[in-house]
Amino acid sequence: MSATVAARKERKERGSGRHQGRAALLFISPWLIGFAIFMLYPVLYTIYLSLTDYDVINDPTYVGLDNYRELMGDDKVVLAMRNTFVYTAMAVPAQLVLSLALALLLQRAGQAAGFFRTAFFLPKMTPPVAVGVLLLMLLNGQSGLVNEFLGWFGISGPNWTTDPSWVKPGLVIMSLWTVGASVIILLAALQEVPEELLDAARVDGAGWWTRLRHVVLPIISPAIYFIVVVDTIASLQSFTEAYTAFFGAGNTTYSNDAALFYAIYLFQQAFEFLHMGYASAMAVLLFLVVMVVTAVQVLLSRRYVHYTGGQS
C-alpha cells in the first residue's frame, strides 16, 4: 500500500542508504511493533507485577520483594521446581538416546527408510492433549496396554498414573513417543558424516562402537547440542500433557502432586487463583532458571561441541 507508493518514488534513488533503510523499516515494522507490544512490554510488566499484589479486579499494590520471599517458603513451588528438574533430567537424556538409536537404525534402513521415518515422526503430529489422554489410557495401572505388554514377560507393571513415584517415569515414557523431530534432525546430521572418514577408521580397525564414539558423535555434536538445548528449554516449561492427564476441573480421582510441573503451578496461580503478582514472580524465576541452564549449556558446548568449517 503505502510501501508501494514510497517504493515507486524511491526507485530512481536506488542505492541511497537512507531510502533503503526506509524500505527495510517498512518491511520489518510488523515485527518491531509486535516485539514492543507482545514481548518487550510484557517482559517488563511481568517484572513490575512480580513486585505487586494483583488480582485483576483491583489495581496492583506494590509489595516490594514479598512475592519472592513467599516463593522461597512455598512448599508447592519447591515441589514443582523439583518435579520439573527431575522430569527434565530424565526426559532429555532418554529422548536423546532413543532418537539417536532410531536415527542410526534409519540410516541403515536403505530404501525402506522413508516408511520407517514416517512411522517415527507421525506421533509428533498428535496434539499434546491427545497425548495426555493416551497416557491415561495406555499407562493405566490395571488395564493399560503397557502393563499388559509387561505382563507377557511376567513383569507386573506399576500404577503409572496413580503411584507418585511412577508418575514422572510415565510422563517420560509418553514423551519418548514424540521424539520424531529429533530423529529427523539427527538423521540429517548423520548423512553429513563423510564416508571417507568412516572408511579410514575401518581401515584402522575401529569397530562399530569406536567409530560411533570417536568419529560420528563428534561430527554430529552440533545437532546433538541443538537438540539438548531445545529439549531442555521445552522440558523445563512442559505443561500440556501433564496438565491434561492430571489436572483440571474434573480430576477427583488422581493424586497429582507428583505431576505438578512448574508451568502448571504458575498457570494455576495466575488463572485459577488470580494471584497475578505471585505468578509473575514465578515467571521471573523461571526466566532466570532457563537463562542459567542455557548459559551452562553454552559453556559446556565450548568444550564438547565440534564445529567443522563451512558452517554458516
Binding site: 520489518i28 509486535g34 507490544i37 516408511f115 491427545a130 534432525i185 540429517a188 515467571a283 523461571l286
Partner: protein, 310 residues
C-alpha cells in the same frame, strides 16, 4: 521381510556410489566378515520393525477403542469384539463438536495465513537490505526465541482483557500478524540463499521494493513458505494453553480445549464415558495426520533444516 531384502540391496548400492569419488577406494574389509554383516542386518531390521510397532500402535489402539462399545474400551483388543460406530454419532450429541471444529479451523487458518505473510515481510527486510542497527535488531529476533512463554503470558492476557477480547477467538491468532521469530529466522535463511542479481536486475528495470518482494522474491520462496505454513498449522491446531486462558463458554472452545473439557467431564470427572473421550481424541488428531500425509516431504525437510541451520 521384503523390506529387509531391499535394505540389504541399498546398503550394497551405497558404498558403490561413494566409490565414484576420485580417490581410489580401499579394499573393503567388510567383506571379510560376511556372516556378521548379515546378522547385524537382521538385527537392524528387527529393531526397526519393533520400533515401528511401538510408535504406530497407540494410533491403532485409539482408533480401535473408538469403535468399541463403552464396556469394551479398555479391553486392549486389536479388533473390536463388537464393532460399532455409535461413538461417532454420540460424540456429536455429547459435545458441540461441530462448533469446536469450526472454531479451530477458523483460528488455524487465520493464524497460518497471517504468520506466513508477516514473517515473510520481516524476513525479507532483514535479508534484502542493509541498514543501521540491522544486526542488533536481528539479534533481538533470535534472543526473543529464548524467552519462556510464561514471562509474557500474564501481561499478554491483560492486553487482550483490556481490549475486551477475552472469551473470543481473537487472542488465539491475532498476535500472529506481527510475525514469529522462529519463522522470520527460517525464511531469512531461505531469502539469503536466493541470487541477489535477480532482484537487482528487477529494480534496474524499475520494479519497486514492494513489487520485487511480492512478485519475484515471494514466489521463489514458496517451498519455505509451505514449511512455515505447515508448522504453524500444526501449532495452531494443537494448542491447548491459549484455549485454557482465553476461552470461557463451551460453544467457543477449540477442539483441544474441548477435548480437555470432555476428559474432565466424561473421563475422570466421574461420568465415566471413556469411549467418548477416545472418539474425541481421534477426531482431534485425524486432521493432523492428514496434514502430515499431504505435506510430509516439506515437513520432514523443514524439520531437518531447523537442526542443521540452528
Amino acid at each position: 521381510m521384503s523390506t529387509l531384502h531391499r535394505a540389504e540391496e541399498a546398503d550394497r548400492a551405497d558404498p558403490a556410489g561413494a566409490d565414484v569419488l576420485p580417490a581410489p577406494a580401499p579394499p573393503r574389509p567388510l567383506d571379510a566378515h560376511r556372516p556378521r554383516r548379515v546378522w547385524s542386518r537382521v538385527l537392524v531390521g528387527a529393531a526397526l520393525i519393533a520400533a515401528t510397532i511401538a510408535f504406530v500402535y497407540p494410533f491403532v489402539w485409539l482408533v480401535s477403542a473408538s469403535l468399541k462399545p463403552r464396556s469394551d474400551v479398555f479391553d486392549n483388543r486389536l479388533i473390536p469384539e463388537t464393532l460399532t460406530f455409535d461413538n461417532y454419532v454420540e460424540v456429536w450429541n455429547a459435545a458441540p463438536m461441530a462448533a469446536w471444529l469450526f472454531n479451530t479451523a477458523f483460528v488455524t487458518v487465520m493464524a497460518t495465513v497471517t504468520v506466513t505473510i508477516s514473517s515473510a515481510l520481516v524476513a525479507w527486510g532483514f535479508a534484502r537490505y542493509r541498514f543501521r542497527g540491522r544486526n542488533f535488531l536481528f539479534g533481538l529476533v533470535l534472543a526473543s526465541m529464548m524467552i519462556p512463554g510464561a514471562a509474557t503470558m500474564i501481561p499478554t492476557y491483560l492486553i487482550w482483557d483490556s481490549l475486551g477480547m477475552v472469551g473470543t477467538l481473537t487472542p488465539l491468532w491475532a498476535g500472529n500478524v506481527f510475525g514469529t521469530a522462529f519463522y522470520i529466522f527460517l525464511l531469512r535463511q531461505f531469502f539469503l540463499g536466493l541470487p541477489t542479481e535477480l532482484f537487482d536486475a528487477a529494480e534496474m528495470d524499475g520494479a519497486g521494493h514492494w513489487k520485487v518482494f511480492w512478485h519475484i522474491a515471494l514466489p521463489l520462496t514458496r517451498p519455505a513458505l509451505v514449511v512455515v505454513a505447515l508448522f504453524e498449522f500444526q501449532a495452531a491446531w494443537t494448542d491447548l494453553m491459549r484455549g485454557l486462558i482465553y476461552l470461557r463458554d463451551r460453544e467457543d472452545f477449540t477442539v483441544p480445549r474441548g477435548l480437555k473439557s470432555m476428559l474432565d467431564q466424561f473421563g475422570f470427572g466421574g461420568e465415566w464415558h471413556w469411549e467418548l473421550v477416545v472418539t474425541a481424541s481421534v477426531i482431534t488428531t485425524l486432521p493432523m495426520i492428514l496434514v502430515f500425509f499431504i505435506g510430509q516431504k516439506q515437513i520432514i525437510q523443514g524439520v531437518s533444516s531447523t537442526g542443521t541451520k540452528g
